[in-house]
């Protein structure tokens, strides 16, 4: 290539024409001088030619190849690609859910005591006036916290 690099053109160039200009710049001290006078930061375009050691590139390939286990499985982890594994994991999750529910049911406290209206303890802080509409009072008191549920058939919400 006999033509010299125009620094202004280089500053705006991209693609194949830029590659040619940078190639020329790498071999032509006169052009580098002209570019340096115009804007020395343009000389950094030559770093596209800087060699990367093969050992680094090979390490990238080796590590990626090792870590990218079989089948990316359209968005999922590799194990999802194996139907047998998928079924086993689904069965384990279902069994776990059943066991957890069973354990929670067995360890629950005693069922709430259903008392007739008349049987509400007189000492209760909550007083329920007997009424024909009140069919049931449920005492759910836990420790010092008194909880009483009153069922009133007339109540409309």
């Amino acid at each position: 290539m006999s033509a010299h690099v125009d620094p202004e053109t280089l500053a705006d160039a991209s693609g194949p024409s830029r590659i040619l200009m940078v190639d020329h710049l790498a071999a032509c001290p006169a052009c580098r001088e002209a570019v340096a006078r115009f804007d020395p930061s343009l000389l950094f375009s030559l770093l596209s030619r800087a060699p990367i050691p093969e050992r680094i590139l090979d390490a990238v390939s080796a590590e990626v190849s090792h870590a990218a286990t079989p089948a990316p499985a359209r968005g999922g982890a590799a194990w999802e690609a194996w139907p047998g594994t998928r079924r086993a994991v689904a069965a384990a999750v279902a069994a776990g859910a059943v066991l957890t529910g069973l354990a929670a049911w067995m360890s629950r406290g005693p069922a709430p005591v259903l008392l007739p209206v008349a049987a509400v303890p007189a000492a209760a802080a909550v007083e329920v006036t007997p009424d024909a509409a009140i069919s049931q009072v449920v005492d759910m008191t836990v420790g010092d916290t008194q909880v009483v549920m009153v069922y009133n058939g007339k109540l409309s919400l």
Binding site: S14, D23, A27, P51, I56, L57, V64, A71
Partner: protein
């Protein structure tokens, strides 16, 4: 064109879980990814880590890639984001990373006298020293535009910013680097 078709075939196969195709894709793109990461993080070993993270992310997300888009732009985007995240996680470190032995090679067109070739190792040291003064976005824009040779539109697409932001950011980066170079006695410098 033929290259693009081959690349599309490779991407499609890799996205479908073909490991061999994916390894070929890594082989084709690894130099560009490592080089871009290196110019941003400033250390070759760190660039290697970033590149590995980039390709593993690619492996996990490739099936979502839209073949209508430019693959290289997408890859640059992942690389720059990974490199900037790496810088944020690591915090500032010494700017001068050890250069590989083979970076001391001089490059030149065949038949060029030795004294006409450019000393890339010295240029690389200077860049890493001065680029420490750039903000991550300025550095990313400068690397993609000036070193990787992308067009303004491609840089904008890769970084998810407007073309006018690319132009402004590039001007700022050039000014900082030019001032640094002039301070160190390189080049005359003219405002552009």
């Amino acid at each position: 064109m033929r290259d693009d078709e081959n690349l599309h075939d490779l991407i499609r196969a890799a996205a479908g879980g073909d490991r061999r195709a994916f390894e070929d894709l890594v082989l084709r793109k690894r130099k560009r990814v490592v080089r871009t990461a290196y110019q941003i993080v400033g250390d070759l070993e760190d660039a290697r880590d970033v590149a590995q993270a980039v390709f593993l992310r690619l492996w996990r997300t490739l099936q979502r890639f839209d073949l209508e888009r430019r693959f290289d732009t997408w890859l640059y985007r992942i690389t720059v984001n990974a490199a900037i995240d790496f810088l944020r996680d690591q915090g500032p470190k010494g700017i001068l990373a050890p250069l590989p032995d083979d970076a001391h090679e001089r490059i030149a067109a065949p038949g060029t006298p030795a004294d006409a070739a450019v000393d890339l190792a010295a240029l690389q040291r200077t860049f890493l020293r001065l680029a420490g003064a750039l903000a991550p976005k300025q550095r990313a824009v400068f690397v993609l535009k000036e070193i990787e040779g992308l067009s303004t539109a491609e840089v904008a697409a890769a970084l998810g910013i407007t073309e006018s932001t690319v132009r402004n950011t590039l001007q700022q980066a050039r000014r900082i680097l030019r001032d640094g170079l002039i301070r160190e006695g390189h080049g005359g410098g003219k405002t552009s």
